[in-house]
């Protein structure tokens, strides 16, 4: 186990506490840089989705994880970014301009959503953000002169400085990776400065934050705006990745997926956003596998245990019906959320920290180290 001896205030500020971090993140970066040249094109495409989802996850983490304001409306922010890209592209606006415009516009919308949300908290805020998402979805479907309504909108191949950047090529992957890394670094910078600490203060006790001089309303609006802007940037990339956008892609389910990203990753650290994104993007091929292969496997088991071919066929078709049932994905997501909230509220990153500690302390790890216990309940809190 490593003990850090801090000799300078700089030691509390720097992003990498010691050289071990530089080495491990360096190895990760090296792997990510050679990934498009060694992995199959399918996996690279999945990695692009991981980058986009992780960017949204970081945005949502700022709002939900660090400021404590829940949002089920982030699909709408993503949509606004995506449609800004699609719309401006028609007028031959260059990519860097509409990329930033997408972020900026979404940030402004986020701030506007933030204002009415100031008086709401908890479940009421969730409902308010859901209704915002429905409004945006409806506007996208009806405002045909701009969005082409339910027909959807084709997004042309990205062109950067006169070069075409196809959405399946390595350059697009590097672009998404770059955006993700810059977002993470910017967020980390924010978290180690007064604004980030004010966010955390609001999350843990609004009254105390206010009495320490934090303008709670202003910082909540700021948090909404930053979170939305990041999601808008991801939306521009999302539009290019899919090369086609329509209102039914930005539904409540997508917002729930973003909540899953941070909930399963772990809502207290940016690592969680990335881990959650990996989990969510990689669960999709797994579900496809379930749908295609599991009925056959179950029928195979059934016939091994003595079922005749007719019964086995029946079992197979029943299993297939279940596997291809509508809303199965949503149900599985729901079960996953419930299981994580019950058994691992700290998420994947929390689990990783526990595993790490086990090896650091080996053989002295105590089983009760992370045992959850009831602590005294606060009474008379000023809210």
């Amino acid at each position: 186990m490593r003990f850090l001896f801090k000799t300078d205030y700089e030691d509390d500020i720097r992003l990498f506490p010691h050289s071990g971090y530089v080495v491990s993140y360096g190895i990760l970066l090296a792997f990510l840089l050679i990934a498009p040249f060694v992995l199959s094109s399918y996996l690279v495409s999945q990695l692009v989705f991981v980058c986009i989802y992780a960017t949204v996850g970081v945005g949502l983490m700022i709002l939900t994880g660090f400021t404590g304001q829940a949002s089920l409306g982030h699909a709408a922010f993503l949509a606004i970014g995506a449609y800004t890209a699609g719309y401006l592209q028609q007028y031959n606006v260059p990519f860097p301009v509409y990329f930033l415009a997408g972020g900026l516009l979404t940030g402004v919308v986020g701030a506007l959503v933030g204002f009415p949300a100031l008086r709401l908290s908890g479940i009421y805020l969730v409902i308010a953000t859901i209704s915002f998402a429905f409004i945006v979805e409806e506007v996208l479907a009806r405002w045909e002169s701009v969005t082409h309504g339910n027909e959807g909108m084709r997004v042309k191949t990205l062109s950067l400085f006169g070069q075409a950047v196809p959405q399946n090529g390595p350059t697009f992957y590097f672009l998404c990776l770059g955006v993700l890394i810059l977002t993470i670094v910017g967020t980390l910078n924010l978290l180690r400065s007064p604004t980030g600490r004010a966010f955390v203060a609001i999350r843990d006790s609004e009254t105390a934050a206010r009495s320490m001089g934090v303008n709670v309303s202003l910082y909540k609006v700021k948090s909404f705006a930053i979170s939305a802007a990041i999601t808008g940037l991801a939306g521009v990339l999302f539009a290019h990745k899919l090369s086609f956008i329509s209102p039914e892609m930005f539904t409540l389910q997508l917002s729930i997926e973003f909540i899953i990203v941070i909930l399963i990753g772990g809502t207290f650290s940016l690592h969680g956003a990335v881990l959650g994104a990996i989990f969510l993007v990689m669960i999709d091929p797994f579900l496809t596998y379930l749908k295609d292969d599991i009925p056959g496997i179950i029928a195979g088991f059934a016939s091994t245990f003595g079922a005749d071919s007719v019964t086995a066929g029946k079992i197979q078709s029943n299993a297939a019906a279940i596997a291809s049932a509508n809303g199965l994905k949503g149900a599985i997501y729901g079960i996953i959320i419930v299981l994580f909230v019950l058994f691992e509220p700290l998420g994947l990153y929390g689990r990783w920290l526990k595993i790490k500690l086990f090896f650091q302390l080996f053989p002295l790890y105590k089983r009760a180290t992370f045992k959850r216990q009831k602590i005294y309940v606060k009474s008379e809190r000023n809210r």
């Binding site: 007064p194 009254t207 320490m212 934090v214 709670v216 930053i226």
Partner: protein
């Protein structure tokens, strides 16, 4: 003119008069304690001063400035810090970041500067950190710098809350029951710190307290309240002998 003044301060919840036309003044550099039975309106006065509740009527002055209409977050900016009766720390953060929030009123960096973590932000952070370290040294909190609040015992949290208030470099500090939940030894420490705050840091202290030993030891003056009204005002011994105060506590 007094340093801090409350004039005819009232707070009514419907028919309940939590604070009923209370007037008092605090002189610069003194320690003034407010005592009274449960429900006397002591904490309500604090909540009025820090603008958690708007007063029903009355005015509050600090350094000859009317602060009755100031937004709550501005009160800290004026130099009034406070602690809470039921600790209000940021539980899922380390002690250091809790104390650094106390420095919030002294931070002047813009959002875009913070996103890029420009040298000015870095320099500001180091200044904040140095100030926080001075407070840590003042209150003997060296052992807890990187500890999460949620894992710390009650007595330590109480001191950390005081530390957070001190980090904002206040001119006037409001202590809401600083000794509640502390054992005898910790209460002793607390009384030394409160006196040191006055003598070494030059902070004016307004304190709500039940522990009469602590009140007698540190206070310059005492105000006794009951049912939202002032019963007596004066030196600790005068107030304790006052017949109305005796009646309020003993029901005689």
């Amino acid at each position: 003119m007094s340093y801090f003044r409350a004039e005819n301060l009232s707070l009514h919840f419907g028919g309940l008069k939590a604070v009923d036309s209370v007037s008092f003044a605090v002189e610069k550099g003194e320690i003034l304690s407010i005592i009274g039975p449960n429900g006397a309106g002591k904490s309500s006065i604090f909540n009025l001063i820090s603008r958690i509740y708007p007063p029903t009527s009355g005015r509050i002055f600090f350094e000859d400035q009317d602060i009755t209409e100031q937004p709550a977050y501005d009160i800290a900016g004026l130099g009034i810090a406070r602690t809470f009766q039921n600790i209000e720390l940021f539980e899922n953060a380390t002690m250091l970041s809790n104390l650094l929030v106390g420095r919030h009123r002294h931070s002047a960096t813009q959002l875009w500067q913070e996103l890029l973590f420009l040298p000015s932000v870095r320099a500001g952070e180091k200044v904040h950190r140095r100030r926080v370290e001075q407070v840590i040294e003042f209150l003997d909190l060296e052992a807890y710098r990187d500890k999460l609040i949620s894992g710390l015992p009650y007595g330590v949290r109480k001191v950390i809350e005081l530390a957070r208030a001190l980090c904002s470099e206040p001119k006037l500090i409001l202590l809401d029951e600083p000794s509640s939940g502390l054992n005898v030894e910790e209460t002793d420490d607390m009384s030394f710190w409160i006196r040191d705050m006055k003598t070494e840091l030059g902070i004016t202290v307004l304190m709500v307290e039940h522990d009469m030993t602590l009140v007698n030891r540190v206070s310059d003056r005492v105000i006794a309240l009951n049912y939202g009204r002032v019963l007596a005002m004066g030196s600790p011994s005068e107030v304790q002998r006052h017949p109305d105060v005796v009646a309020a506590y003993l029901g005689a």
